[in-house]
């Protein structure tokens, strides 16, 4: 039985959306239990309101909450009783198989590195985010943890991504692309050029440089870059999706004729929105630490949480963590 530890207090819609999402998730799939960490009274009230009477969701009290105003590097020492720190310590001490949190990225990284520690052989953990492409999805990493990277970090990202896509999406030899400003090997910054050479020499399936349009075109299953570039790309995609969906709404809600038109393509629009919906893709694994951690979007709603819990469940039972650990113990990057 997989045990999922959920930080009930992180993110804009906590704890309401988080508790609801967990209830929906346990109704959808068997074989896992949830430990909700946070203010017991608040969580119990929501469980009661939602008439949850099952035994698969348990609550673990933690009175403090980490906010975006807390200095990420200090939370582990200064907010010991916060839902996030308590959740990570529970994972560390074997009370569960993974942690899910919608809290601040910086705080999640600090807890990951300070409480769980880095995997042996990994210099920098990375945040991996699935983004929609023309042909399906691609894993963008690092999507926000390390503003600056060294060439070797890109190779480690590529290997972690390869294991992730293999175990979670069943792609045996995922194609890895390096984000760059041209397809030729000599393009880009010095760091990126060196990363190119290291990736070319590594045993992953490296397809070379990918530009912004190639990323969306779906030419790579895994897209590696520094966390600055990755975060800008991710947020730009979110902004563009919201812009386009807003424009579509304006087009369709203009008058009675256009509203009729909307009815005729309702199904198509619905599946398109699902395709680009960060709620359904939501949930980015923190890769490279000794434990399974998923960061969900700060504005996650109940639907997002439900999806992320199911995703985390699949991740926990996939054997991904063990294989990744073995891989890096074998190679020991300096």
């Amino acid at each position: 039985m997989v045990k999922i530890i959920v930080d009930a207090m992180g993110g804009d819609n906590a704890p309401q959306a988080i508790v609801e999402g967990c209830i929906n998730a346990v109704e959808q799939e068997k074989d896992f239990n949830i430990l909700l960490v946070g203010k017991e009274s608040q969580i119990n009230k929501i469980l009661k309101d939602k008439k949850y009477t099952g035994t698969r969701i348990k609550v673990y009290n933690a009175e403090e909450v980490i906010s975006n105003h807390d200095e990420p590097s200090k939370v582990v020492k200064q907010k010991k009783n916060s839902s996030m720190v308590v959740a990570f310590n529970l994972l560390k001490n074997g009370y569960g198989d993974l942690v899910i949190s919608c809290g601040s990225t910086g705080a999640i990284l600090t807890c990951s590195v300070m409480i769980l520690k880095r995997l042996k052989g990994i210099n920098r953990p990375a945040l991996g985010t699935l983004i929609p492409t023309k042909t399906g999805n691609a894993l963008l990493l690092d999507s926000g943890l390390n503003a600056e990277c060294k060439p070797i970090n890109y190779v480690q990202f590529a290997i972690m991504g390869t294991y992730y896509m293999r175990h979670l999406l069943g792609i045996k030899h995922p194609k890895v692309g390096l984000v760059n400003i041209g397809t030729e090997a000599e393009k880009g910054t010095e760091t990126v050029k060196e990363a190119y050479e290291l990736l070319r020499e590594s045993e992953i399936t490296f397809i070379g440089n990918v530009e912004g349009n190639d990323v969306i075109g779906g030419s790579a299953d895994i897209v590696v870059c520094d966390g600055f570039t990755g975060n800008v790309m991710l947020k730009l995609l979110e902004g563009t999706a919201s812009f386009f969906v807003g424009e579509l709404k304006n087009i369709f809600f203009k008058n009675i004729t256009t509203k009729l038109s909307a009815l005729l393509v309702k199904e198509g629009i619905k599946s398109f929105k699902a395709k680009i919906d960060s709620d359904s893709l939501g949930g980015a694994p923190v890769l490279g630490i000794d434990g399974l951690v998923i960061k969900s979007h700060g504005n996650s709603n109940a639907k997002t949480i439900e999806n992320v819990v199911i995703k985390g469940f699949n991740m926990a039972k996939s054997g991904f963590m063990n294989d990744l650990k073995k891989e890096f113990e074998k190679r020991r990057f300096s």
Copy 2:
């Protein structure tokens, strides 16, 4: 009378699309002439095919063509008779007011710096590109010339952008945002943090950091970043627009009902496509050099060229170049 020098041989659709675009442009607006530089026989044949008999388009022969395989840094010396090098020399020697080329970005930069020279007081020229936003447009610069930048470059980009938006779009105090991975001042790389401080102290209208979604949200009129980030953003936007438009087509062309739906929202879709169409926004000025240069997209079609010529005409008569020159002579960055 403004005189526009057009490199007729650069880009994927040269010279056909370029000559056609120029013919359409002179039919649309008065007060400028065009000098087409490239293989005379080919250009004349297109002019004849298109039954152009006017006197506003002249041809200047240049037998060589710069391709993407030419080493950009060597074109000025090794391809003296190429359409691009000849066009830049014509501008340098006073035979026109600006140059337009769809050729390789690297070669355009080399010609700009080596033939026209940098403006006094500018360390690095930058490529500015207008991108669509929720509220209109924003100038993204640098969108591809300098993979790595120093903090002072960002300030120069911001000032050049301010003059550009003021003269070309009539925005008196354009808002400048710094691309970053968080809105707080202490976010990002060391370079970006220093750039933040310099921008804050400068006299431009600095609104602070902008994330990818803010850029599309339209919170800034000018978005400054290094050329790596800018180019990745630009290409990502192009890729996303093409992805979304493709998805819309699939939705509407599915069956007879959805095709009917498409008819009902035809006008809305058309104006939406125009909004996000790089053809109509096409044409990025190379800012920071002693001369007006517009780089148009490598895959520019006749419509793009027509728009870019009109844009260049407006730029030439706006007084932008003189004012920018005075500004930087005054301040002299070290």
